[in-house]
Symmetry: C2
């Protein structure tokens, strides 16, 4: 789901998946590959996320032993966890109505051709 | 919110708004104008909706006294009501997490420039 936060900050499935993949893969490039996202796009999204929040969500180290490595900051972990919690609650909250909508869309196979 | 129902049926804010506007305005053309949607697009969405469900959601009468008139069928009313109920429950379910995310995005003005 896509949400708009005050200040024009938008969060959706793409950014959440990227944060999650960076946390798991330990690098922006690897996270991008995992999501079949270009390196340029992955970096662009990280830069946008970092600029949107008061402190960065992703920290990268471009040199030294951890060259190319990246990790989620405490705020990055918190944002991702809240987003996932929100998503899970939304899914649970709409389950009954979604099932009812699916019933309304269902063609009754017992009376089909 | 946008949901996918079994059978590849997609429902989102645009189609819901169109159903609602048709129910209120009593014609597809008037509903389209209200939503600043082209006549062609409004008709296309209605045709897609009607094809997606086992019985039509919108009935139009192109001739006679009710020329150009359209109304929601019982199924159309049911789909719209379920969609709106679902949306309301999702909004309520995510309120707390959304507020927490907004806090994470907030720049603390008391320490600002």
């Amino acid at each position: 789901m896509r949400v708009e936060l005050p200040g024009g900050v938008a969060l959706g499935p793409g950014k959440a998946a990227l944060l999650e993949a960076i946390g798991e893969a330990g690098s922006i490039a690897a996270a991008g590959r995992r999501l079949r996202m270009s390196y340029k796009r992955a970096w662009g999204l990280v830069e946008a996320l970092n600029a949107d929040f008061p402190t960065p969500l992703v920290e990268s180290s471009r040199g030294g032993a951890a060259q190319g490595g990246a990790h989620l900051t405490e705020r990055g972990e918190a944002v991702l966890a809240r987003y996932r919690a929100m998503e899970a609650k939304a899914v649970a909250a709409i389950a009954a109505d979604l099932a009812a909508l699916a019933d309304l869309a269902r063609r009754d196979v017992s009376h089909g051709t």
